[in-house]
Amino acid sequence: MSAASPVIERGTATSRIAGVAVAVIIALLAFAPQFLSAGAVDRMTALFIYVILAAMWNALAGFGGLVSVGQQVFFGLGAYFAIRLADAGLNPFLALFASGIIVGAVSWPLSLIMLRLRNGEFAIGMWVIAALTHLLVNLDRLVQGETGTSLISLNVYDASARRLTIYWLALASMTALLAILFGLLRGSTGAAIRAIRDNEDAAASVGVRVTGTKRLLFVLAAFGIGIAGALWLATSITFQPKTYFNVQWTAYMIFMVLVGGIGTFEGAILGAVVFFLIETWFGGAGVWYLVGLGATAVLFSLFLPRGLWGTIEERFGLRLLPVGYRVRLATDVVDPAGNDTQPQHTTTDRETA
């Protein structure tokens, strides 16, 4: 090992290209409806919502170390508050975002209790919260129990204009939420978040505000998933509590993040795209499709716990949207064999924030 000082870098040539590519892709997506059929626009809207769900669940589990099986509570509440606000006379499109903010606000007091639970207790405790909230929403006269209701006020808009508006709103929400998360992870909070992810006790011992940081992620995830629920309501119009408070939403989030790569920013997006493709191709297979999703999630967590992106990253040292720093020894750069076989080495190489 020579005495050459290590090079600390954040962006690489690839990541700079990737940054430009992201901007180009978003611009292309914004113009895409010109060339897409109505059905394709709806599907793309669904994809954006999946990306939001995956990114938000990943923020909570992958970065905050909080695995929740009850995130459908925020999805359902996002839709429910949108219905309520629209019923009170608010413009339905405004109601979607106001609803997200309310969900975020509701999640804060909830976090005071729930974040004191650990691991499995937190996971299943959130599930209880989701089940209880579902029952309480059912009591609302407006919702009429499991019969549900609709976002009727959206009907004043012409169908195609409505479709396009929702598409752009979903795209904008996805971009904004991903940008917020990216900014958060790159900033000083990001260092704290990764420290907690890697070792909570050690992070606390060096003065990282563990609970505050987790609370931030919890509220952000609630806000994002609330928006996703409201957007989903806008695309499907009808609100049936059973559909929105279904645990399958969390199952989807877990699947996307596990397959894509838990704890990596790009992984959640990749996972959402993979899930979207699988759903497009196999969604018609009904029950077997769900069995396949569950089984894939089990297999990934057993044999490829870092997911597709985590594995690619490790193998090729590839970083498209870097949220951390990496340290390279200037003279000792090329040692692929050592890099590949020693996970510990790659960890220090990966993200030293």
Binding site: A61, G65, V67, V69, I113, R116, L117, R118, N119, G120, E121, A123, I124, G125, W127, V128, I129, A131, L132, L135, L136, N138, L139, V247, A251, I254, L258, V287, W288, L290, V291, L293, G294, A295, T296, A297, V298, S301, L302, P305
Partner: protein
């Protein structure tokens, strides 16, 4: 009113039955098995299938199903939990959740959406009752269930405190590495514990099928009930689970009196209240919340 209280207490026996496997597994392996409820429903379906297809009455069917559940528990620990536990505390949650989805949907694929019950196969037991003083009628099945819970909890307690294997399991749950140093085979102890836990799950599934109806997706509420009963009762020993089950059942019975939808709401609400009170009293430390029964058995 006293009638409702008695019914509630007896229903608590069922919750204790389903909760004891969950809290036992958590106390030994520090894993909350999210497939717990689905496995109970699987056992109910197995009994239903044996009864309707081969005319084996459910109580005899248990002789087949319970050993099978033990094998499933052993395999679950060896092939799934052991491997995923190595990846940290979060992976087992994801693995068992994935397993629950697989089981639920496989059951749906096999048996369809119809609700089933084991009640038609146990003859008059499903509706027979004894008259207690004060013209209170208690279902024979409910009483059997309650005593099964008491016997099971007592048996587990004795097993953990009096037998070598029980002591090995307790040692492993305290500190697997140190237990290994003094010659305890931690892998074996864990696998045995998982097998025992799943036997209790199988028994709970049998009673679920006898006292009510079930469908392929009935696992989720069972898991939540089990978790709630275990957390509510977490203060003392395995017996705490019984108290937790009774409290949960009483809250549900009371809730049902207040509002037609109140059964489930009452249960969830009492769980959250207990959780809140416990958290405010415990300060920041939460180690004692989901209490390991093995500790108190020593």
């Amino acid at each position: 009113m006293s009638n409702q209280i008695i019914q509630g207490v007896l229903l608590g026996g069922y919750y204790a039955l389903i909760a004891c496997g969950l809290s036992f597994m958590f106390s030994v392996m520090r894993i909350i098995n999210l497939a717990h409820g689905s496995l109970a429903v699987l056992s109910a379906y197995a009994l239903w299938w044996l009864a309707s297809r081969f005319h084996i009455p459910p109580f005899a069917g248990l002789l087949i199903v319970l050993p099978l559940m033990a094998v499933i528990g052993w395999a679950l620990q060896r092939f799934l939990l052991e491997r995923s536990a190595r990846g940290g505390a979060l992976l087992p949650i994801l693995t068992t959740f994935g397993l629950a989805i697989v089981i639920d949907n496989m059951l749906f694929e096999q048996f369809g959406a119809d609700t089933r019950s084991l009640a038609p196969f146990i003859g008059s037991l499903s509706y027979d009752s004894w008259e207690w003083p004060g013209s209170i009628y208690v279902g024979k099945l409910a009483v059997i269930m309650f005593f099964a819970a008491v016997v099971l909890l007592g048996g587990l307690q004795l097993f953990l405190s009096r037998t070598g294997l029980g002591r090995a399991i307790r040692a492993t749950s305290e500190d697997p590495d140190t237990a290994g140093l003094v010659g305890v085979d931690a892998r074996r102890a864990n696998a045995v514990a998982a097998a025992i836990a799943l036997v209790t799950v199988g028994l709970a599934g049998a009673f679920l099928g006898m006292r009510a109806t079930f469908d392929p997706y009935a696992g989720t509420p069972q898991l939540l009930f089990a978790f709630e009963a275990a957390v509510i009762g977490g203060a003392g020993s395995l017996w705490g689970t019984l108290i937790g089950g009774i409290v949960l059942a009483l809250a549900q019975t009371l809730g049902a009196q207040v509002h037609p939808q109140g059964f489930l709401i009452g249960g969830h609400a009492v769980f959250l209240i207990v959780l809140f009170v416990r958290l405010s009293m415990a300060g920041l430390s939460l180690r004692s919340l989901f209490n390991p029964p093995s500790r108190s058995a020593s």
